[in-house]
């Protein structure tokens, strides 16, 4: 944006007129943000106000009652902790494995490399429903049902393929000469990776980190099947628990949703610049 603004004003603008662009952007932002706004709004409404038709745009008596309920009278805090443990664990594990796998794919030629690379993707192509039963059986045999490790490993399987592909193309875009120079300067292969390649791949690493974290944080089906004990249930399951057969406490659902959304929003906003850089760099150079 600043680049456009800094461009000499003599250059003729091309494309749509400015008012149209502004209207379009506002409309798009509104459509994207409306659910979040509604979520936040509903979380401070009283139960009665929630069901009025036409809807109330601003509650007459904003209340934090829903938050009190969610934070002190439900399992949500425990689920939040579980989600943090599982997401951080699986993201960290996926990132470490992806770094080494991608570096191998990007820098070395070995027999069967194309085949292996395709196999990495095959896991991604299988429908969730098709692998849920085999995974459950595997986890049960290993005694990992209803454990943190079970979910961490399953989520790693889920996020690793795309992470490997993202990082491989990122690593490939880094000139080989830099590593050759480092090798001549006396670095080992691992030294090259950690001192040269990784510092230059920070945007790529951040993209993978955000992708893996968000995916695992929001995941529902696997968590539903493999974590049936409240000691390991994650936030998406917790949200669903507010709906019972006869009644749904929408106020509490909304408050819990806000609690669940905050970490993701903070993650995104804090890493936004690096993340966007990583996405485009991977796209154009990969």
């Amino acid at each position: 944006m600043s680049a456009v603004a800094a461009a000499p004003s003599k250059l003729k603008r091309t494309g749509l007129p400015v008012p149209l662009i502004i209207i379009g952007s506002v409309l798009l932002v509104f459509v994207c943000l409306f659910p979040f706004w509604w979520m936040g709004l509903s979380s401070i409404k009283t139960l009665r106000e929630l069901y009025t038709i036409p809807p109330i745009w601003w509650p007459s008596m904003p209340t934090l009652d829903n938050y009190r309920k969610v934070l002190f009278e439900s399992n949500i805090p425990r689920y939040f902790l579980n989600s943090v443990v599982v997401s951080v664990g699986s993201t960290g594990l996926a990132l470490i494995l992806a770094i080494f796998a991608s570096y191998g794919f990007a820098r070395f030629n070995f027999r069967g490399k194309p085949l292996l690379q395709s196999f990495v993707l095959v896991g991604q192509l299988l429908p969730t429903a098709a692998i849920i039963v085999p995974l459950f059986i595997t986890l049960r045999v290993l005694g990992l049902v209803n454990t943190y490790w079970g979910l961490i490993l399953v989520y790693m399987i889920l996020t690793l393929p795309l992470s490997v592909w993202m990082l491989t193309s990122y690593f490939k875009a880094i000139p080989v000469e830099l590593e050759e120079a480092a090798i001549i300067d006396g670095a080992s292969r691992i030294g090259c990776l950690f001192r040269i390649t990784l510092p230059l791949s920070i945007p790529g690493l951040v993209s993978v980190l955000v992708y893996a974290f968000v995916t695992t944080w929001n995941e529902f089906i696997f968590a539903l099947c493999f974590a049936t004990d409240s000691s390991v249930k994650t936030l998406p399951i917790g949200l669903a628990e507010f709906s019972t057969e006869f009644n749904t406490d929408w106020g509490a659902v909304m408050a819990a949703s806000v609690v669940m959304t905050l970490p993701i929003a903070i993650l995104f906003l804090s890493m936004q610049r690096l993340f966007v850089g990583g996405m485009t760099a991977g796209a154009t150079k990969g």
């Binding site: 000469e177 006396g186 670095a187 040269i196």
Partner: protein, 353 residues
């Protein structure tokens, strides 16, 4: 300080051999330039010397020690890459000190040696900048500084100037030469530019299609090229080659015109040969051969003339100013003793004295 000895070095990728046994001996402190057209294997040879490519056959020794199976860091060499290969996330100072840091040298020692190199290359004001904030010439100097800081036995340069513009290239050329004169570290320098080779080298190795065509000092290559390839490759504009045969002490060109030779090769009558004359070795002579002018290109100090002589298009460079116009004729002859003869079949130089 170190000597380099390359014995019958070979390189093959699968079944395709691209270096067919190269042998070069480089003395301690010598500046040797590997030159040749692209694809001749010169860069591959340099990378084998550096340890970035495996050696498929033969032997490479640095300072008397065979390095075939040694990793780069144990060969005590430093390399300057064509793309400079500066680490973008490190400052100039960190770039230059990286090898010492990896070698776990004490911090003040690193600082001292970086400062010495930076001063020599007039980089001291830039030590805290990042490579992206430098100009092309400065980056080139940082790349050299990174190599100098280590005080290696051998410097390797892989076409270090080809990313610079023409003027900067000439300037960096003399800077590299000066640094070599100050440090007198053995240097192997790869380029495809024969001017760079001629101006910088103590000795030049001309390579072509994976073999060494000739090794010699710049003037040896210029005065006594071993074969047609070297004759045509060294010198600018390049040597004129005329096809014909020898007869009765003269060279008979394809169109029948005779060029008398200052020497009389005996027993070679009828032999098919190529005659080489450098453009600068034509002289104007009213008794000479008649040549029709095609174009005249004056540069001020000299005049380059494209002309048709004995059925061939040739180029002559004259110190005199030529006033003749295209289509007209001038009389020229090759300078005495400056005629090169090559065997018509093998392209090898025919020695005469």
């Amino acid at each position: 300080m170190g000597s380099v000895s390359i014995r019958d070095a070979r390189k093959a990728y699968g079944n395709v051999e691209i270096l067919h046994g190269v042998s070069i001996d480089i003395a301690d402190g010598e500046f040797v330039v590997l030159v040749g057209p692209s694809g001749c294997g010169k860069s591959t040879l340099l990378r084998m010397l550096a340890g970035l490519e495996e050696i498929s056959g033969g032997e490479i020794a640095i300072d008397g020690k065979v390095v075939n199976s040694l990793p780069p860091k144990e060969r005590d060499i430093a390399m300057v890459f064509q793309s400079y290969a500066l680490y973008p996330h490190m400052t100039v100072g960190q770039n230059m000190g990286f090898s010492l840091k990896l070698a776990r040298a004490p911090k003040d020692e690193i600082k001292r040696r970086v400062a010495v190199a930076a001063q020599m290359l007039s980089l001291d004001p830039y030590l805290d900048r990042y490579p992206r904030q430098l100009s092309g010439g400065q980056r080139q100097r940082v790349a050299m500084g990174r190599a100098m800081v280590r005080d290696p036995k051998v410097f390797l340069f892989d076409e270090p100037l080809s990313n610079l513009d023409a003027k900067l290239r000439v300037q960096m050329r003399s800077e590299i030469k000066q640094n070599h004169q100050r440090l007198s570290t053995t240097t192997v320098y790869v380029t495809h530019d024969q001017i760079e080779a001629m101006t910088m080298a103590d000795r030049i190795v001309v390579m072509h299609d994976g073999i060494v065509e000739q090794i010699g000092t710049p003037l040896e290559l210029y005065d006594f090229p071993d074969n047609l390839f070297v004759a045509a490759f060294i010198g600018s504009p390049s040597m004129n080659i005329l096809g014909g045969k020898l007869q009765a002490g003269s060279f008979i060109a394809a169109d029948g015109s005779a060029i008398p030779l200052p020497f009389a090769p005996t027993g070679m009558d009828g032999r098919v040969v190529s005659m080489g004359i450098r453009p600068e070795h034509f002289v104007l002579d009213p008794q000479g051969l008649s040549a029709q002018i095609i174009t005249v290109e004056p540069t001020g100090s000299e005049t380059q003339v494209a002309m048709r002589l004995a059925g061939h298009d040739v180029v002559g460079v004259f110190r005199e100013r030529i006033t003749a116009r295209p289509g007209e004729h001038i009389q020229v002859r090759p300078e005495q003793g400056r005629i090169h003869l090559f065997d018509g079949e093998t392209g090898k130089r025919i020695k005469h004295s």
